[in-house]
Symmetry: C2
Subunit: 228 residues, 2 copies
């Protein structure tokens, strides 16, 4: 029976972007509902009590499964639609892809997004006033440390988790692409990361992300440029 998918998401949310990339890479069609999560819409918190995007709903005939939160959705999609495999064939491959995912969930989010995205995105959405320059500096310093780490990984690997594209790459690309929307990635200093991002950016799965625009927030000039 056909599965009808609906993804509730926010276009500039790194967690939502990971799910959109995985769905597209697996060629799974889905309807979209854009969630203004910061307004805590009741219809959405009824779906996911945490109030956080993304949420995937799958309808098969009369049956429905609601899958909340990025990690749950990605594990669900891998299990239900194993081709193409985005986690890896061996235990070691899967461990490495999941290590990178949690790196971004836990470390990148608290050391970079909590400063930079908070100042540049959340404060505008929540109308909390002008960005705090000290926080922006903290976030940019944190970002450089992460880019140095990715540059080192990519000196020895084609993709972040090893020889093949994985959810580890999507975790990184989803986070980096949102910061790139705001023009915050110092590409010049990180040639290996830039080459890797050019390859990810050229994939058909990435196209919808490059078309994202949010009212009042213009993207940087090279955001959707494949040859940046």
């Amino acid at each position: 029976m056909t599965v009808i998918r609906t993804l509730h998401h926010f276009p500039l949310d790194p967690a939502s972007r990971q799910v959109r990339l995985a769905l597209a890479e697996k060629r799974l069609a889905f309807d979209e509902v854009l969630v203004r999560y910061w307004e805590q819409p009741k219809a959405f918190t009824a779906l996911n009590p945490s109030g956080l995007t993304p949420v995937l709903i799958e309808r098969t005939g009369d049956a429905q499964v609601v899958v909340c939160e990025v990690r749950a959705i990605l594990e669900h999609l891998e299990h239900q639609n194993p081709e193409p495999d985005l986690l890896g064939a061996s235990s070691a491959d899967r461990a490495e892809a999941r290590r990178l995912m949690q790196w971004f969930d836990r470390k990148f989010d608290s050391e970079v997004n909590a400063y930079l995205l908070h100042e540049k995105l959340e404060k505008r959405l929540l109308k909390l006033g002008a960005p705090d320059l000290y926080n922006m500096r903290q976030g940019r310093d944190g970002l450089r440390v992460h880019l140095i780490y990715l540059e080192k990984l990519l000196a020895a690997r084609d993709w972040l988790a090893g020889g093949r594209l994985s959810l580890g790459d999507f975790a990184a690309a989803a986070n980096i692409s949102v910061l790139d929307y705001f023009g915050d990635i110092p590409w010049r200093d990180f040639p290996a990361v830039k080459t890797w991002y050019m390859r990810i950016k050229s994939r058909p799965a990435f196209r919808p992300l490059l078309a994202d625009r949010w009212p009042g927030l213009a993207p940087s000039s090279s955001y959707d440029d494949l040859d940046f």
Copy 2:
């Protein structure tokens, strides 16, 4: 071939505790290496560049797999040792268990642990001075909101994710047990959460956690009491 397991962990780390509970529930023996993660020991950051506990090493003959970070380890263990099943049989069960895990990773951690555990535990380990009373208050207020949510879930369910014990319960119990070590859970006001915790606490898998002590940090008087 026999699998030799070594878990690198910190006893009062909620993420490490989830892995210890899952290993014990699956009756998988393991050696332990206690990590003073806040000192960033080189031998440990060589294993896991994020510097965060837990890390599980599995040796089978000459082969070795290093699995870093709690989510990667728990998914690995479910895949390699499916009995007893701690994720759930249906897609909906697994989605619910994983939703709760990420609830604690993302929401509980930033709304409760970032205040309460930071003030009571991390500041002592890092010798950062006396706890900040405003932060403690923030953390305790956040904790009450989470306990109200758990109390509501448990009014309709035997276990947090539904009819069976799951990794969702372990995520909750691991976080709550560390705060209980410091005497911070207002049990009196949350009878359903208390009953649920008594059941978890009585499981053989929980015993090693109740025996945990860290030098200079005494547990609350009822921490290891099964009838608290």
